[in-house]
Symmetry: C2
Subunit: 336 residues, 2 copies
């Protein structure tokens, strides 16, 4: 049973542990900075399917199925699958869930999906409503590109402020166990923040104010400071967006220390070819959390991490109707 | 703090009460069977906006804002807004939330949204993570029609098995209070069920098996029978779909009693012009729950109600790629 602390934050009384994690990414992501941490790197981004949407669905299925099978070996009963994705009407999640035979809590929070999913899973477990849950999300460059931007065949040039949607994702299982595993202690649900950015190629600028809002709520509510954490990670602000966040936080009581902060989007392709601002997509922060961050917590390289997934809540319709891009950020604090 | 009972059902130990409800519908819905129960009937389905999408967003804002203002009069602090809609990337919910300044838990469960939202709200409250939440969803005939089917200007003929997307929606606030108000005692999260229906005009047939699955789980888990409830209501199966459900339930240990069962979609336009199978859309069951059902519970006309919202988890892309239509159904049991 949890406690609300401050205005926007939850403290879990019996923090749910991350029992299992599985990450899968495409070739391009597999050549980047987190290469050696991913559980699976696929070279065929169609996953032997005849459409990118079906490939994305297969990726979702595969990451959840891997976690599910590990849990089943330990005789865990999985109560809920909590997930979402970027395709219209969440079809990736729904169609994958059809084959997984788990009760589904479908969510939508754009690229903030993984954090929202972990918050709901932790609440259901700590509240006694579930014993084990799986949180999952993926994205796919090719399905996202043709849904949100232009046909792939068009080969459009990208502006320098653009990001590249990550092909891949991550699944994490939450539950209780005797082992000393990373656990979710705090959670902050974000508000929708809109500073009026209308450039749909500049998602980082649209989402950075939401990340600031949620981080400030979290520090206010927990009465802690950035220095109290070994690592602060944002989802997919990209290089430009994460620089904006650092600037925005300087104007708060909680300036970020550069050496203890990184953005999954800004880092994921580092070492790979030039990709402007880096990665984006729901699978960006999810795959990094399920690989690099989780493994560093397991190895006690870091003891506590603030994970802030950021989402841009636009659609092609809202942009064509002249709307600006609202952002949202959800946060979990994970410690070991 | 809740209990899981059986395989898929939650029993809330301190059942959250429905503190407030507000329903808003369009002109056509306002002429139907539930006419006198709706809180607001609007004749301008553009809500003075310049697009149907913006009108839908305004409807979402208005129903939540009405509930929010009632709660604020009672000095309630609203912890979370939990909602979703049918437009791509949930823009109705996200853009309305931008003006509402409430932490947002975005969900997607097609027309099963209201039940999923109430289950999450109840879990957060009973688990001690929130004191008051607002659950909301809307749909709009004109925005849905042009997103899912054909341009409105085309004036396509509708086949006899088609339903009509409801313009309108409902918002319900959950929390604790001393008053004797309707409360949510049980909840069942559904699994994705797909019987292979591919006719996108025949949503009722696609969703009925999901409704059956969730109802059977609920009765199994609670060891109760349809006769134990004053009313069993499904979301938007329509006339044809609700007939299918009645047939499917005859093959289970829990046949439905026709006089104590109705489908919101099948009933909402009754008394109005001929609309084939009736209504559909996330706002269909939400507006009926927030009006007719809630008011009947308040007046003790019924003492306990099973509310099963049903969703068809397709997208235009999945259908064009030859996929069948998976369904889902989430259930809450409300009693007074």
């Amino acid at each position: 049973m949890g406690n609300r602390i401050g205005k926007n934050t939850i403290e879990f009384q019996n923090p749910p542990k991350i029992l299992e994690a599985f990450s899968l990414v495409g070739d391009k992501e597999g050549q980047g900075k987190f290469s050696k941490y991913f559980d699976k790197i696929v070279s065929d981004d169609k996953m032997s399917k005849n459409s990118f949407e079906k490939a994305e669905c297969e990726m979702f299925f595969e990451i959840v199925d891997n976690v599910k099978r590990e849990l089943e070996k330990k005789n865990k009963i999985i109560d809920y699958l909590i997930g979402g994705d970027l395709l219209n009407q969440n079809i990736t999640t729904s169609f994958a869930a059809r084959e997984l035979h788990l009760p589904l809590i479908g969510i939508y929070s754009a690229c903030a999906t993984m954090a929202e999913s972990l918050i709901l899973g932790s609440s259901l477990i700590d509240g006694g409503f579930a014993s084990t849950t799986i949180s999952a999300t993926v994205s796919h460059f090719s399905s996202a590109e043709r849904q949100y931007r232009t046909p792939l065949e068009q080969g459009s040039q990208r502006p320098p402020q653009a990001q590249w949607t990550v092909t891949g994702g991550g699944a994490l299982a939450l539950g209780n166990c005797a082992e000393s595993l990373p656990k979710i202690h705090f959670a902050t649900i974000g508000e929708v923040i809109d500073y009026g950015i209308t450039d749909t190629n500049n998602m980082g600028a649209a989402m950075a104010p939401a990340a600031r809002s949620t981080l400030v709520h979290f520090f206010d509510d927990t009465k802690t400071y950035p220095g109290d954490y070994d690592l602060i990670v944002t989802g997919d602000l990209g290089k430009f967006g994460s620089d904006i966040l650092i600037e925005l936080m300087k104007d708060s009581p909680y300036p970020l220390e550069k050496e203890k902060y990184f953005d999954c989007g800004a880092y994921i392709y580092e070492g790979s070819e030039k990709l402007y601002q880096g990665g984006s997509g729901a699978g960006c922060s999810a795959s990094v959390l399920a690989s690099y961050i989780y493994k560093n917590l397991l190895m006690r390289e870091v003891k506590n991490v603030i994970f802030v997934a950021t989402g841009a809540l636009l659609s092609t319709t809202s942009s064509m109707q002249g709307e600006s891009i609202p952002g949202i950020a959800h946060l979990v604090e994970i410690e070991v």
